[in-house]
């Protein structure tokens, strides 16, 4: 996915032609149809053409689904969703927001609070871009822990939009699955295998044979690190832990247990 470019090009050297509702802060949150611009507008005898002639038609959302809110609150990752008072500190300190303008943790939490799935659906492609740097959780005045709320968001998306996950988030989902299989199944993480799998899954097998990858692999074979990966093994008696964890996950009575449905 390409990093979005937010600076609009100045074409022709003169004044750039204003786009619809361009000077609205957080313009990307508003749909085109909801912006109304009048050419010549006179209100109470005052001419308000120009910058002030832009109006946003208010959205009415009366279908709150409170059961959805409870569903998230029950999960371990999203248990603090009720504390959020929408100050926006999470978005202000976010690492990802400058790269993807549409990634907005505050808005995601708001949509989850309202149960506004229709709106959430529009952000599926950016919703899993969180890098887990925890700046938001560090600075949140209410200890909502937005970083982990993004995990809850991933669960929501997985449950309600399995189709979109399959098309738009195929790679993310598959890599996560590789991680989970490896961690729960073997108890230890084989980084070399993970890397190779991920590149294969993303359909870039050719890159594995490229110079950079080849150099790195050669280096690791030469200094013996490639073989230490083979020796990693499994913790002793891991199978009992594995079964206990799988049992726990099966019994989980919350949204966290959506794996089987997908």
């Amino acid at each position: 996915m390409a990093i979005e470019k937010h600076d609009k090009e100045n074409s022709g050297g003169g004044r750039p032609v204003a786009e619809k509702g361009e000077h609205i802060v957080a313009r990307h949150l508003i749909e085109d149809d909801n912006i109304k611009e009048e050419k010549n507008l006179v209100i109470d005898g005052v001419d308000v053409s120009g910058r002030w002639n832009t109006f946003i038609i208010s959205r009415v959302n009366s279908e709150f689904d409170r059961s959805f809110f409870e569903e998230i609150k029950k999960t371990v990752a999203g248990s603090r969703i009720n504390r959020c008072w929408q100050c926006g500190m999470c978005t202000a300190s976010c690492t990802v927001t400058p790269l993807y303008r549409r990634f907005n943790p505050r808005a995601f939490i708001y949509m989850m609070q309202l149960g506004n799935l229709k709106e959430l659906k529009k952000y599926i492609d950016v919703a899993w871009r969180c890098v887990g740097c925890y700046k938001c959780s560090q600075r949140c005045p209410k200890q909502v822990n937005p970083a982990e709320m993004m995990e809850a968001l991933a669960l929501v998306i997985k449950k309600y939009f399995p189709e979109e996950v399959k098309t738009k988030l195929k790679l993310d989902e598959e890599v996560k699955k590789i991680y989970e299989d490896m961690i729960i199944g073997h108890g230890r993480l084989d980084l070399a295998k993970l890397h190779t799998y991920a590149i294969q899954k993303s359909g870039r097998t050719k890159e594995l044979l490229g110079k950079i990858e080849r150099d790195a692999i050669f280096k690791m074979v030469k200094d013996g690190r490639a073989f230490s990966v083979l020796r990693l093994g499994k913790p002793h008696n891991w199978s009992s832990s594995k079964e206990a964890m799988e049992n726990y996950l099966r019994k989980l009575n919350t949204i966290e247990n959506t794996e089987a449905g997908v």
Partner: protein, 307 residues
Amino acid sequence: MDKLKENQAAYYPGCALLTIDRAYNNSSKLVSKKMGIELVEIPDYNCCGIGEMKSKGAASMYMPLRNMMLAKNRLGSKNLVMACSVCYHEFSRSIARVKENQNELSAVNEIFKEAGEFNEEYIPDGEARHILEFLYNEKGVEEVKKNVVKPLKGLKVAPYYGCLYSRPSMYTFTDKKPKMDNSERPRFMHEFLEALGAETVFYGNEVQCCGGRNVVQDEETSFTLCSQTISKAKKAGADVIALICPKCAGALDVNQPKIVEKFGKDSELPIVYLTQLMALAFGFSKKEAEFSDMISEPLKVLNEKGF
């Protein structure tokens, strides 16, 4: 397995440190031993979950806490030292959560009971400790100064803490406990490096994220963040960047050829671990500190500067 002696500490290596980041593992052990603490690996350790299990409820807490149980059972140590920041985060997260939340503690204990590996229940009385914080608090800067035999005079180092060493306070207790580092402006690594005789540079990205978590799913984000950090450090005049996390190394060091290919020579700077520099200053050879393991070739700079 024997219980620990007085000058020993239970140590959790983690998966990355035992395989491709062995330089960090070995140099950590060398440095700690020189400073008077022997790190003893816990037997049968398992992966901490590296942040990919967070949506799995109590199972994500069971994984690190099983290691805490191992440390207590086999080595008789309540606390566990680790060098990887991601492991540190997972451990401190689990411990802080089960301390605070009785439901989560009983859910974790349920899994422990079913696995049947230990006869006792888990009680959250231990602490996870990052090796930087551990050495700083247990031994201190004076001990580092005492051990330096080859000061790193003239080496400009950009200390890079990354995210999870200092954040979030609710898990790591930075700012909250007096012995802990500052969350927004950590200083322990600065003090260590200055004690080694090296010069630290200020470049503004000390606690920024490298995007290491998404390095396989979303390379582009990670590359952009890394190139920002590296080029800022380079602009500030740094010779090397010092790390304390293998995941940062995965993003900044292993991927550096790709980053350079994309963003140009501005994003090229040797990457080393803090403990490697410490080992070098403590008189170990460059071979013992395993500088040759790093893809970004720090040996060139170190040879040029005459260390």
